[in-house]
């Protein structure tokens, strides 16, 4: 040890010397190749909240791409769960949320009471929430898509978790579900089991389709997974205005959501061209699913995915740009 130790400094010195030599030989210097600064001015910084799902990421990527490329904005993306993102309106650290599912309680707090946020219109995407089965089941048991037949098949859905009843695999915790009330009020012989995360839900459906095991679960669309496995919706009693007023007594399906955009009051009043862009932004479920597919399946970075879509759809983009 002592002997080898002695060579320690010498070896290190050698490394350093070699490094110096190398540098003598050249190599590009930092700063030499720096591109010209890219700010065109007039827009400033936009703080985009990025909620943790791919569809959202698609919206945000396209908006950010256009804002940076066409408007010269500096876009700062902040990875935040919904509630924290909304809090950000209050603290002034978030300018926009570009795909919002409902959240009436948060709207009430931040738009109506605190008045730190305002709505910036719909995204054009329709959100569907409900109960789904994997496609092989819909094929094998065609009548399963009617909730009235669910009890007939309850035994199929038994698992180690469901205590002798059929299992209804519930949600990603981000969403308030009515499922416990639904099961009770529709007299279904099912037990709600909380999967706890989107990853758990998707994995469950993926395995169910692959191994042809029965599964009934809460899911939603648009969602990138739908393009991998097209889940089939089970129809609950149709939604009518106000049928979900009393959470305890709900016995109807989830409403169709018009997904929308929320921006901070300050941002809306700033006159930033980016605000106009966000306000004008709308596209279809197919558009979003395409970009989401680029990201999730083709493993493109959100920036690349956005660039590709924007280049393929110049007309749609043009319609979003501020008129001035």
């Amino acid at each position: 040890m002592a002997v080898t130790r002695k060579y320690g400094p010498r070896a290190l010195a050698l490394v350093a010397g070699a490094g110096l030599l190398l540098s003598g030989c050249g190599g590009a210097k930092v700063g030499e190749t720096q591109a010209a600064s890219d700010g065109k001015g007039g827009c400033g910084t936009v703080n985009l909240a990025i909620n943790p799902w791919v569809g959202y990421e698609a919206n945000a990527a396209v908006i950010a791409y256009v804002a940076e490329k066409n408007l010269g904005c500096t876009v700062v993306k902040k990875d935040l769960k919904e509630e924290v993102a909304w809090q950000g309106f209050g603290t002034g650290e978030v300018d926009a949320i570009v795909e919002n599912w409902g959240h009436d309680d948060l709207k009430k707090k931040y738009i109506d009471e605190q008045k730190t946020a305002v709505s910036a219109g719909v995204t054009g995407n329709k959100g569907v929430i409900g109960w789904f089965v994997p496609p092989w089941m819909a094929e094998k048991y065609p009548d399963i898509t009617d909730w009235k037949n669910l009890n007939k098949y309850a035994d199929l859905f038994k698992t180690s978790e469901s205590g002798g009843k059929g299992q209804l695999l519930d949600g990603d915790p981000s969403f308030v579900t009515n499922d416990e009330a639904l099961v009770k009020n529709l007299d279904l012989n099912f037990k709600v089991v909380y999967a706890g995360s989107e990853a758990a839900l998707i994995t469950a459906f993926r395995q169910a389709e692959r191994t042809k095991t029965p599964l009934l679960g809460y899911f939603y669309d648009p969602q990138w997974f739908m393009s991998e496995v097209k889940l089939v919706k089970v129809n609950l009693p149709e939604y009518t205005e106000g049928c979900d007023a009393d959470a305890e007594k709900i016995a109807c399906d989830y409403p169709l959501y018009d997904l929308d955009k929320i921006v901070s009051k300050k941002f809306a009043d700033s006159g930033s061209p980016a605000y106009q862009l966000i306000k004008n932004f709308t596209w279809t479920n197919d558009d979003q699913n395409l970009v989401a597919k680029y990201i999730s399946e083709d493993k493109m970075s959100p920036e690349d995915a956005a660039a590709k879509w924007v280049n393929d759809n110049p007309d749609k983009v043009k319609a979003w740009l501020p008129s001035s």
Binding site: G31, E32, P173, A199
Partner: protein
Amino acid sequence: MVAVSAPVTRRLPSRSYLTGAVLLAWIALWVLLNGRDTLPLGGAQLTPLHTRFGEGADVIDANRDSNPVFLYFVNYIRLFIDATVTFVQALISQPSFGRPVPLVGWLGVTGVATAIAYLYGNRKVAVLTAAGFVSFGLLGLWEESMDTLALTLTAVALSLAVGIPLGVWAGLSDRFNRVVTPVLDFMQTMPTFVYLAPLTLFFLIGPASATVATMIYAIPPAIRLTAHGIRQTPPATLEAAEALGVTGGQSLRKVRLPLAKQTIVVGINQTIMAALSMATIAALIDAPGLGKTVLKALQTLDVGTAFNAGLAIVIMAIVLDRVTSAASRRVEIAHRTGRSGRRRLRRMETAATAVAAVVLVYLSYTYVWAAEFPAGADLGSYVRRGADAASGWVQETLVAYTNGLKNAITYALLNPFEALLAGSPWWLVAVVAVALALLLAGVRASITAAVGCVLLVALGLWHDSMVTLATTLVATLLVMVLGVVLGVWMGRSDRVDRVLRPVLDAGQTMPAFVYLVPILGLFGATRFTAIIAAVVFAAPVSVKLVAEGIRGVPHTAVEAATAGGASTWQLISKVQLPMARAGITLAASQGLIYVLSMVVVGGLVGAGALGYDVVAGFSQYQLRGKGLAAGLAIVVLGIVLDRIMRAAAARAGGSSATR
């Protein structure tokens, strides 16, 4: 076991009979009363307390801009932390000072890290450090790794700046120690998810919140171990110093602190590990770094990418662990290289190392090739593809067998246990808990148990708590089975130790989010998946502690038994395991705490109950109060179980000593 029937029990004929009787009575009553007074609460239901908790957060929100505490205190802390993190990022991870790259590039950072490892550790860990840092680049995650490192180092530095002085205080003052211990328990068992969102109200979204969240989890080991080290100073040494007339300050500076140094370094090591283990969770509030990569990958179930980033975290953890461990060993032999000649050599060595590091820093400041990691060498894509393939293969081929395993354990162990705990009336469980605590652990523990039960009921989450308790206890049981089997194996063979240790380290530091997808694929969204995740995380600690205990059995005892002709099995069961009891007890209590810290992760994969309540509370505005209550319930469970276990172990140990 011997201890239970030891002669201490003067009043009570036999404690084990009584324990058995209590359990039998419980089961009998459960048959009669099954399903009554179980206090269930639906997923979206709230109690008035939950609503009140939820409104508490709004008060902060409303006062943030006017309250002087915020204006003059919290805000300055936030500004300070933000500036610190940003500065470190500018140094090593983010483009800064008008440059397209950070001040110090990959070569410089690697050089400095290696030099530090060499000077404070040894040659071996220096090589490991160099390899580790280069691997961040090779995995294609240089910038992310440096962001994580920047945040971790800042959080660690601040944790130590706060924790070591408090630890010294707790080491010197019994009163302060008594006050601070439950606070630390609280900080370590309260799930991060609970305070993550409220934290952003205090410290806003950004590095400050992430750093503070990390610190809350990372400070306790620094305080505990510093206090422990200070307390441990041999009384004889202190007395000798006092007889020489030292002042309080001298005694601290010249006697206690130097003697506690090694323990404090162990504390630093644990603080670093704890801080790193927060990398992923902190990413939920926009903490930069590898955690973000993992979370992003999870959105698309991209196991390969998640694994790649997880691997970088594991490597960072192992490097930091080995360097600090080597440094703590070095502390012991610090000056021993004493003799003047060696000393001069050492000084030269230090100077040469420092110069080399400075040269590398300069190069990486100046030249692009040394600043940005060359993109050509891309190990990351291989790792990603490999992990993807492995995960896919496992999910496709093993699933047939794993289902059987899952069902066996769930139906044979978990379901009956849960039925007993969650299906009995709450008052019956409370009475049983108090009685068992009294029998096994004494009066104080039984009072703790009673208070705990009352709190759980008051929090409105009794039923969920019992479901979580059942899962937790089963997981702890599995952890201990693994812990004893592997621990004995590892404690008896250095070779096994060498092979197993990195695997255990990986299990402990790989973010759970990385392996959630494959185990979800294998076991579905079930409580068993949650148990597996908990076991992966908690078993390594238990294994290591048991191995430590086995290794600590005096050589003479083993020799004597061997000389007496004991077989290997007899040796293990009659000598090594009983004599390693302290280590095994510690393994069990630590295992339990680690399992509890995975309750929330369990909630993400189908365990429901408290874990899900916490996660949902974090995600849903209406449920935030319930999430807080669930977090408190987890703390209550943790503290009660810990206290009972420790008291029971102390009593068992004590009575065996009086034998």
